[in-house]
Symmetry: C2
Subunit: 335 residues, 2 copies
Amino acid sequence: MQTVAIVGATGAVGAELLAVLEKRNYPVGTLIPMASARSVGTTVRFRGVDVPVRDTNADAFVGVDVVFFSAGASRSREFIPAAIAAGALVVDNSSAFRMADGVPLVVPEVNLDALAQHQGLIANPNCVAAILTVALAPLAKIAPLRRLVISTYQSASGAGARAMEDLRVQTGDYLAGRPVVSRVLKHPFAFNLFSHDRDIEANGYNGEENKVGAEIRKILAQPQLAISTTCVRVPVLRAHSASVNVEFTRPVSVEEARAALASAKGVRLVDDRATNHFPMPLEASGEDDVLVGRLRADPSLATALNVFISGDQLLKGAALNAVQIAEVAKPLAKT
Amino acid sequence: MQTVAIVGATGAVGAELLAVLEKRNYPVGTLIPMASARSVGTTVRFRGVDVPVRDTNADAFVGVDVVFFSAGASRSREFIPAAIAAGALVVDNSSAFRMADGVPLVVPEVNLDALAQHQGLIANPNCVAAILTVALAPLAKIAPLRRLVISTYQSASGAGARAMEDLRVQTGDYLAGRPVVSRVLKHPFAFNLFSHDRDIEANGYNGEENKVGAEIRKILAQPQLAISTTCVRVPVLRAHSASVNVEFTRPVSVEEARAALASAKGVRLVDDRATNHFPMPLEASGEDDVLVGRLRADPSLATALNVFISGDQLLKGAALNAVQIAEVAKPLAKT
């Protein structure tokens, strides 16, 4: 049995981490939930027990086997060095170290082999990158990918539990004819959508778009893969979707793609043309599998296919992937 | 002053037609609202007067100057020949005749010249095609377009007033914890999105996607333009959005594109990187202009730009465009 710490245990991903650890029977002997000082005094529930939340501090990692970080990049930068030094295996859900040399960025269905090189820290990808690579890796095995044109439909959960609640509140206010106020994200969210709220960077893309592209390249081990990304938030609660135009180096048939996806780990093919039933975020919510469908030949380019993907942002996009990593990663040998 | 008939006067687009005619001071002398038999006995309000709704019938077009059809393709097929024979100018909002030879498919900002060839009937485009061509035509003047990869974010209004109401009802039920029932469209709509509900056709694309591609080609007079389209319904009430990857025959700079759009008719450039303010359906709702922004160079292809577009589905996507056509089209000479 292991001693497991969660930094950010009271957030949206923290809650899912607790649920996933419990559901998958992860060998948790002792659970140490940590959060910011203002959560001290509260508890989180795990296996029917209320466990007190502790303040995050650098001395708390001694004797801990695994630490899941899910409290944002600055917390990760501040505390991960101490956790590694204490001998813990760290799975970091933040963006802090994802692109760092020597830090594996892992989606177990896709690049499990990258895990072997870890030095105490494994990065959990951005939610869009994790969900998309589960669907893209089986396609990349048919023929090398040349270019991806991605447009996302991202849910409120990607901005945390408060954003989900704000979407509910704003929508209720709208329906009741009350003034609608955005309390978490900048733009109105009720019955609206908007370009992803991360700041625009020098190349004109927002931080989310740049992360998605860079991380897909790293996970697929295709550093030169051409990727164009548009990230959009839609008024959906907890699963992300994406429309992806996938260009290969040679023509790939819909049948080849369907066969590859049907047998791929972590994928559920949802592609019923007769009933117009394809991936939807509501059906992806709460599911471990990434839903993939709307496979069709691209009439505008003989070497391309179109595909539509929905995956639970909090599960495969965050907590589930992190726990899957911890299940298979070997701890560093103690010195 | 003209005698103006509206077939489908009680629908979502019908209501907008009345509002647009009034707002733009269209020279309506006599208004004849028509609908199906079950609406007879009701009235529509125009310039402060309640006007009785009549049954649609082939004898009713005598002496009518202009007829707007907005009651679906089968009504258009049934009654438009009689309206033309009676000497009326017909603007058809349905898909019935859009691709027919000899029927101009017109977005006045884009292909006004096509109007001259009409033979009594002018087709009003599909809402996505109308909105997108307003934004694409100014770009096509910089350099010829080679390929478009389009992913849409389409609102409930495209499926009519009942679908808008159903989205409101489903969402209210969801928030109140009541069972959510889809009464108009097939799939759950509250906090969900789904592939467009039109039937899938032989090529794997749904009817909406095939229409959008074919109509964009016709409006832009580029019969060979390569277009890949993914149409998705999102839980937004009345404006459509689209993420478009625009490939040209040569590299086009963001600055060139921005300048062309800034001076284009029917376009409002909304492209503020500093404040992360870009086109949103809520801001497009009720607006005549199509909002265009998120212009950026595509790192995956030197000859491509990305752009994001929002436009009011009921206005530029339907009623406004139809009235604009009627304002400038010359009636056929009476024989």
